[in-house]
Symmetry: C2
């Protein structure tokens, strides 16, 4: 039986990255789409609690069925799994995003959050991004994602795990290979650009700049910068093990909250 | 010199949990507030890229200065650190939230994301929640947070680390103590409630139900359920170490993405 894949993204149902992914998936699997009606960048792992969610059918070439929804990527996965599809998909794929999702910055990523929601439902999940905001090419990423979807459908992933894939924006022949990586320490440094509106009031745009180049050759950003497809296994347990041990020696007590000490 | 604390939350600048926290902090530290103008629950670690951010001064009793902003908790921390305060705060505290933030569910938490943004700036950070959506009492949580703020200002935290604190909704004398915990595996199970509007169109509310009770006595939810204040060290590296090793044996290659195999 064909692998049934739920596809979402955070650039919106009409983005070329999603279209390319669906077309590549259709060769060996059955793609179903539930994706945001609009772009949703930098939503983090948000879910919509305070307004009603709606989904309406759309036509996406090569998709078995497709819906656009007024929610986040995580909402779209929940809508697909719990109601719209009418069955449990074998794999959840989020992407293909225009712009890499690397290192610590994945906590901001709508693309990764779509895959996280799949993992939370216990479904093998994949997030796929290309390392270019403009003039992104999706051919290599789409073909690789399609292969990887069939692989994780067959082999499974541990509970609470997903794969975060980043592909250099290069033609096939310039890609040097595939590397299994860890999340690097590099990230966009948060900045604010302050402006004054015509009424004299201040407002701000959030911007960022890349931190110093990642030097760890085992990291995701190092791999992508050197022409490799990066595959990073991601898990949801954010416990800081080393600090757990250290904190126990602090002997924190409720009593020290009084002002008698 | 007094410890200078940046306070944010995701229930909004007018929530009683934030007010109680600021009042308790003012006893031994200098609290500054930058918090969302409205409630922002379940925003995840979202940041605002596509609209201008604005902040306006508000009066919060016991705060040195306070602003309300039209962004997420993470946006508020960036606004405070990068512009509004005019100095680098010693500690970032997010809370006090009405409703626990436990286990895998912290990826959805606006409260925790405010502390994460602080950690990303390299500032010791704390998220504080009380285990009650209704009739939450903040006295114990506020006193404990105030003590812990001074402790982490003095001792520091490792880079990329924050503390996630959850307090049972009990009077002081019923609290059994303080425990250092790990993030539990329990979580709210995602559900959707489907309804039909007066025009005959379907819409959905996201809801949830708690999963089976956490049995791990070292977990955050077990501690809170048994009357202990839970302090969990959280880090931002979500690499799945065990799967990293396993994936390397899969020998994933770009070539297998062709359809010749």
């Amino acid at each position: 039986m064909a692998v049934r894949v739920l596809v979402t993204n955070d650039d919106g149902v009409h983005s070329p990255g999603l279209r390319a992914l669906v077309e590549a998936l259709a060769v060996g699997s059955e793609p179903y789409v539930v994706a945001p009606e609009h772009q949703r960048s930098a939503t983090g792992h948000a879910i919509t609690l305070h307004k009603p969610l709606r989904a309406f059918p759309v036509v996406i070439p090569h998709a078995v069925s497709a819906w656009a929804a007024n929610g986040t990527p995580a909402d779209c996965v929940a809508l697909g799994v719990l109601d719209l599809l009418g069955f449990r998909p074998d794999v959840v794929v989020s992407g293909i995003n225009a712009g890499a999702n690397l290192g610590r910055d994945i906590t901001y990523s709508g693309t990764v959050s779509g895959a996280m929601e799949g993992a939370i439902f216990g479904i093998p999940a994949l997030a796929v991004s290309v390392d270019a905001f403009e003039n992104a090419r999706y051919d290599v990423a789409a073909a690789f994602a399609s292969m990887l979807v069939r692989l994780i459908a067959e082999r499974g992933l541990p509970p609470d795990a997903l794969l975060n894939v980043n592909v250099p924006n290069l033609p096939r022949e310039a890609i040097r290979g595939v590397t299994i990586t860890r999340l690097g320490r590099g990230r966009y440094l948060s900045k604010l650009e302050k402006r004054i509106d015509p009424r004299g009031q201040a407002y701000y745009w959030r911007t960022g700049q890349p931190s110093a180049e990642e030097e760890d050759p085992g990291s995701d950003s190092y791999a992508v910068r050197h022409g490799y497809i990066s595959v990073t296994p991601v898990q949801m347990d954010m416990t800081h093990e080393a600090l757990l041990t250290a904190l126990r020696t602090w002997e924190i007590r409720l009593e020290s909250s009084s002002h008698h000490g």
